[in-house]
């Protein structure tokens, strides 16, 4: 089966969902895949969530917009309410359990992985890296690619003034991957 | 007795009859422009941006490359020409309807950007080509086909003094108003036009000259009375002179 993955990544504005969407797609490109990334705006912007859609595929990509994805990265509660029902049966849901009650996870229908993103990021010294923890878990759980192309892409996706944070972000990606490996 | 030719047609002006009415000042303005293109040696580098109005056919009378702009847009088209060919001498020639009404935004912004172009503005207080309708510069009380009882301050607002507005913009380098109603004023007009053209040649930015002109046909006056009207009615409202001259300061920008 050819490699294919689509994902909606959603959270509050400021949680860095657009950044990890970019990073995922960029790393996919570096890993030889076709990729699309689209920030979803318009009516979708309202209701407390910022979100983007990423498609990774060995084949040519048709639609860059996906209503029912095969995977989710969910960083806050309103995003869970909005997108979990749309997730395909048997799909993967990476849930930020620091901010979301795992009782709300639809564990019977889809595969849910609880990742305490904010707590792990706090421990690593910066809450703002919660997004990287989530992405690390996502890469590990999907196996779409190794973590290395993602780490290697940090320098291209982060603007130069944040390059000093690359080691810390790498740690966060690794920490998220460890959680998913144990799940 | 040998003949001596003391008055000839400028090289840049084509030898053909114009379509203008008797007593119209466009011919005088065309000649001044043509003389200066010759005297300043820029005719071969000149690109005229023609406008819409009686002077739309200026490109048939001047021996220079030309592009025809939509109504009022000549300063925008000239901006594009200059962006494409910085090495060329670019100028517009516009009437009062074209420049002060529909083209107000284009001329103000071109001036304010300090575009290195020259604008020749012919103000005869009326839309000539379309048959004498009210223009933004029509004087209070002046009758036109769209203000048959005379322009009224309450209804139509006051005539716009363009040169003063242009002079007030930071980007403009030279702004002056002259009149074509007598020889003395025509000589002054040429001096101002020379300065506006010089402004571009020296890469000092936007040069603007307003020329008060007669439209005997639409004013319903004979040419002599039309000239008199410029003196008695127009000049008192549109004073002559230089309103901005930043050439010696190296331009406005």
């Amino acid at each position: 089966m050819a490699r294919y993955l689509d994902a909606i990544i959603a959270g509050f504005g400021g949680q860095g969902v657009m950044l990890i969407g970019n990073l995922l797609a960029y790393a996919g490109m570096k890993d030889g895949l076709n990729v699309t990334y689209i920030p979803v705006y318009g009516p979708e912007m309202r209701g407390g969530t910022a979100n983007c859609t990423v498609v990774l595929s060995e084949e040519e990509i048709g639609s860059p917009i996906i209503h029912s994805p095969v995977s989710l990265i969910i960083m806050n509660r309103p995003s869970l309410d909005k997108f979990q029902p749309r997730l395909k049966d048997g799909g993967l849901n990476i849930i930020n359990s620091s901010l979301i009650d795992m009782d709300l996870a639809d564990a019977n229908r889809v595969k849910c992985i609880a990742v305490p993103c904010n707590e792990i990021a706090d421990k690593l010294g910066n809450t703002r890296m919660a997004n990287m923890v989530a992405l690390g878990a996502y890469i590990q759980a999907t196996g779409i690619m190794e973590l290395q192309p993602v780490i290697d892409s940090l320098k291209d996706v982060l603007s130069e003034r944040y390059h000093k944070l690359i080691p810390a972000n790498t740690e966060a990606l690794n920490a998220g991957a460890e959680v998913a490996a144990k799940a | 007795m040998s003949e001596q030719l003391v008055f000839d047609r400028p090289q840049s002006v084509i030898d053909r009859p114009t379509h203008y009415c008797p007593g119209c000042h466009h011919g005088v303005a065309h000649r001044l422009v043509g003389e200066l293109l010759d005297e300043l040696g820029v005719a071969e580098d000149a690109i005229l941006v023609a406008s819409i109005g009686c002077s739309v056919f200026l490109y048939n009378y001047l021996n220079v490359d030309a592009v025809e702009a939509p109504h009022g847009r000549a300063p925008a088209v000239a901006t594009g020409v200059k962006a494409a060919r910085k090495d060329k001498f670019v100028f517009t020639y516009q009437g009062d309807g074209d420049l002060a009404s529909i083209g107000m935004a284009e001329v103000l912004h071109a001036a304010n950007r300090g575009e290195n172009i020259a604008v020749v503005f012919v103000n005869n207080t009326v839309y000539g080509m379309t048959g004498g309708q009210m223009a933004p510069t029509t004087l209070i009380g002046q009758r036109t086909t769209t203000c048959p009882s005379g322009r009224c301050l309450e209804h139509e607002g006051a005539p716009i003094r363009m040169t003063e507005i242009i002079a007030g913009l930071g980007g403009a380098t030279f702004a002056a108003r002259a009149s074509l109603n007598n020889v003395k004023n025509i000589r002054q007009a040429k001096k101002y036009l020379r300065k506006a053209f010089q402004c571009q040649i020296e890469k000092k930015g936007f040069g603007f000259v307003e020329l008060l002109s007669a439209c005997p046909t639409n004013w319903k006056l004979n040419p002599v009375d039309a000239n008199e009207r410029i003196k008695t009615e127009m000049i008192p409202y549109f004073p002559l002179g230089v309103f901005k001259d930043a050439l010696d300061e190296g331009g406005a920008c």
Partner: protein, 355 residues
């Protein structure tokens, strides 16, 4: 054409800019409007680097007229906007068409009518393919569906503009403009920067003066100009591009262009998996329209369903193309809604059930 192997990850708006720079565009005239702002933003920093000129105009009206001025000088020049702004550019576009002035205009179509929204839509199909302004004229209209096509077709647009001395429109939408995708940049060779040497304005030195105009008052002159334009539009007909996908054994052919075309491709794949004999016909040139290719499909007995992100515009051209042998049904995706493959799968399944 030397293909650089390195891919870049850029928005469609940036792909347009990169394509224009590769095509040695030397003047850009812009005005802000969502969802195309990355184009003027990037041009403002990139144009000076390549020795070109960037001007932020006071309005779309002015920007298009600046384009007219630069095009009259035979310089590769461009402007971009989105629907409401494109309406304002129509004045100068008509003048450019009337005066045979080459130029490239990009429209990242957003929802309308009026101010509409800032999301994707295809409501400007008629405006783009029927001229858009006053008078009887046509633009070459290219409709990229992907970032790569945005890059490739932008390069091509400059060549076409100069080949035909005609304005060319790149018609994208908010999806194309805002989506990031991996594209492979390449550098075209053999660009003729002096393509306008026989007609462009440069100052009448050692030659007759030249005039770029669209006013023809002398008896018979305007008729002559219109005849010349018609001849040009006939010549353009030889330049068509389109994509056929899974049409060979298809019973039903979906006709869709631009972003909807690529979304329809996903729908066709999904429907094929369910065993439905469905194909896709995607015009890449909207003017000239690939009528002959459509007619050939119609003659094979295929049925047609046109789906657009509007209330039905391109469907007219599909019907005209196949009118002697077939007709096309139509399903709208309403501007204001974000299109998804299900918007295409639904009407197709309905059509299959109802046949």
């Amino acid at each position: 054409m030397s293909k650089q192997p390195e891919r870049i990850f850029v928005k469609g708006n940036e792909a347009v800019v990169r394509g224009a720079l590769a095509a040695r565009c030397k003047c850009f005239f812009g005005y802000p409007i969502t969802p195309q702002n990355e184009i003027p933003e990037l041009m403002s920093s990139e144009m000076p680097k390549s020795g070109g000129e960037f001007v932020q105009a006071e309005s779309e009206v002015a920007a298009a007229n600046m384009l007219l001025g630069a095009g009259a000088c035979g310089i590769r020049a461009m402007t971009s906007s989105s629907s409401p702004g494109i309406s304002l550019k129509q004045e100068a576009i008509s003048y450019m068409a009337g005066s045979n002035t080459p130029a490239v205009i990009v429209n990242m179509n957003r929802g309308g009518p009026g101010l509409g929204d800032i999301g994707p839509a295809q409501g400007d199909y008629y405006q783009s393919t029927r001229g858009g302004g006053h008078g009887d004229y046509r633009l070459l209209v290219l409709a990229p569906a992907t970032g790569q096509e945005a890059y490739d077709l932008t390069i091509k647009s400059f060549d076409l503009a100069y080949k035909y001395r005609n304005p060319v429109m790149i018609l994208g939408d908010a999806i194309l403009g805002q989506m990031k995708e991996a594209i492979t940049p390449w550098q075209p060779e053999g660009i003729d920067d002096e393509a306008g040497r026989d007609w462009a304005l440069s100052g009448a030195k050692d030659r007759e003066k030249r005039l770029i105009k669209s006013l023809y008052l002398e008896e018979g002159a305007l008729a002559g100009q219109n005849k010349n334009l018609q001849k040009k539009y006939e010549d353009m007909q030889s330049y068509v591009e389109y994509e056929e996908f899974e049409t060979e054994d298809a019973e039903l052919v979906v006709c869709a262009y631009g972003s909807i075309g690529r979304i329809a491709k996903s729908a066709v794949r999904n429907l094929r998996k369910q065993g439905h004999k469905v194909g896709l016909f995607r015009p890449i040139t909207l003017y000239p329209f690939p009528s002959d290719a459509l007619l050939a499909l119609a003659k094979q007995g295929k049925k047609f369903l046109t789906i657009e992100h509007n209330l039905g515009q391109m469907v007219d051209d599909v019907r005209l193309a196949i009118r002697t042998v077939a007709d096309s049904d139509f399903a709208p995706i309403y501007p204001g809604n974000l299109p998804i493959p299900e918007d295409i799968e639904g009407p197709v399944l309905e059509w299959l059930e109802g046949k």
